[in-house]
């Protein structure tokens, strides 16, 4: 059970941050144009 909780929680946290990185990188690149 511990393994399941760890893998689901870690995936959700990383996916959350990946959407934020997507926005931050995009805005940075758009600003540089």
């Amino acid at each position: 059970v511990g393994g399941w909780i760890a893998v689901i929680a870690a995936s959700m946290v990383i996916l959350f941050f990946s959407t934020r990185f997507m926005v931050w990188s995009g805005v940075l690149l758009a600003g540089l144009r």
Partner: protein, 269 residues
């Protein structure tokens, strides 16, 4: 079905045969699940280009688009997991796999979602450096290649396997280089195909295809983004098959399975 020792050429050669065996319906399923993700990436990039330096004032719109892209990404992972399993079954039997390809173990999928998320986050985090796409592509390739080795839920196992198979760095790097070239070729092919279709359509009476030239020109950013997404969709089945075979062949070389198969073939002949 270990036909040749581990090398870039053997991996590419066998992956072409595997894609041929899995093209219907599994490659079609992969495309169907990947299209929403690529479409949302186009929408996101298009909005960014449209907003330009004012993008900082439209955080909510961009965040919502990124969230929908993330949901589409999860759907694309389902398609990739099924396709990777179909590739493994096809490489084992040499024939087109049946419904068994759909039975992806939940532990394998959970481990794959975890490492694919890391690859996705690394891509966007390093995007501004220019290395993000290459690094993310290699990482996501190894993630899909090692999917079926995740037999227990957890976060250490998938990472350990990623590091282990990433050790074949020479072949991994050369595969990435070959697929970069394949992407350029696919880009030209997709653009030519679309132009060809409309050139043919313009010969049909009553079909006014002339105005489409404005839309289908490289000055239209949406057209350029669509062509890029189309090229990525075209090479995706080959990329997944190559990584599945790379991991399979590297694993066979380490356990000595390739030698066992070769010895059995010798005995039979």
């Amino acid at each position: 079905l270990i036909r040749a020792p581990l090398s870039t050429t053997s991996v590419l050669d066998e992956s072409a045969a595997v894609v041929r065996a899995t093209v219907s319906p599994w490659a079609a399923l992969l495309l169907a699940t990947s299209i929403p993700y690529r479409f949302m990436q186009i929408v996101f990039a298009d909005r960014l280009i449209e907003l330009g330096s004012k993008a900082t004032q439209y955080g909510d719109v961009l965040r919502t688009t990124a969230d929908i892209t993330c949901a589409a990404f999860l759907l694309s992972l389902v398609g990739r997991a099924i396709y990777a399993r179909a590739c493994r079954l096809a490489s084992e039997s040499g024939a087109a796999p049946g419904r068994e390809a759909l039975r992806v173990p939940l532990t394998a999928f959970a481990g794959y979602v975890f490492v694919a998320s890391i690859a996705e986050a690394a891509t966007y985090l390093l995007f501004v450096t220019g290395l993000g796409i290459a690094f993310g592509a290699v990482l996501s390739g190894l993630a899909i290649g090692t999917i079926e080795l995740n037999t227990e839920p957890g976060i250490r196992g998938p990472l350990r396997r990623l590091a282990h198979f990433g050790g074949s760095s020479r072949i991994v790097a050369s595969l990435a280089l070959v697929f970069f070239c394949a992407f350029i070729v696919a880009l030209l092919n997709v653009a030519t195909l679309i132009s060809g279709i409309f050139a043919l359509a313009s010969t049909v009476g009553g079909w006014d295809a002339a105005r489409w030239h404005v839309l289908l020109s490289i000055h239209n950013r949406r057209y350029v983004l669509t062509i890029i997404a189309g090229a990525l969709l075209v090479i995706e089945p080959f990329w997944i098959a190559a990584n599945v075979l790379l991991v399979r062949k590297a694993g066979a070389a380490q356990t000595g399975d390739d030698l066992r198969v070769w010895f059995e073939e010798l005995q039979r002949s």
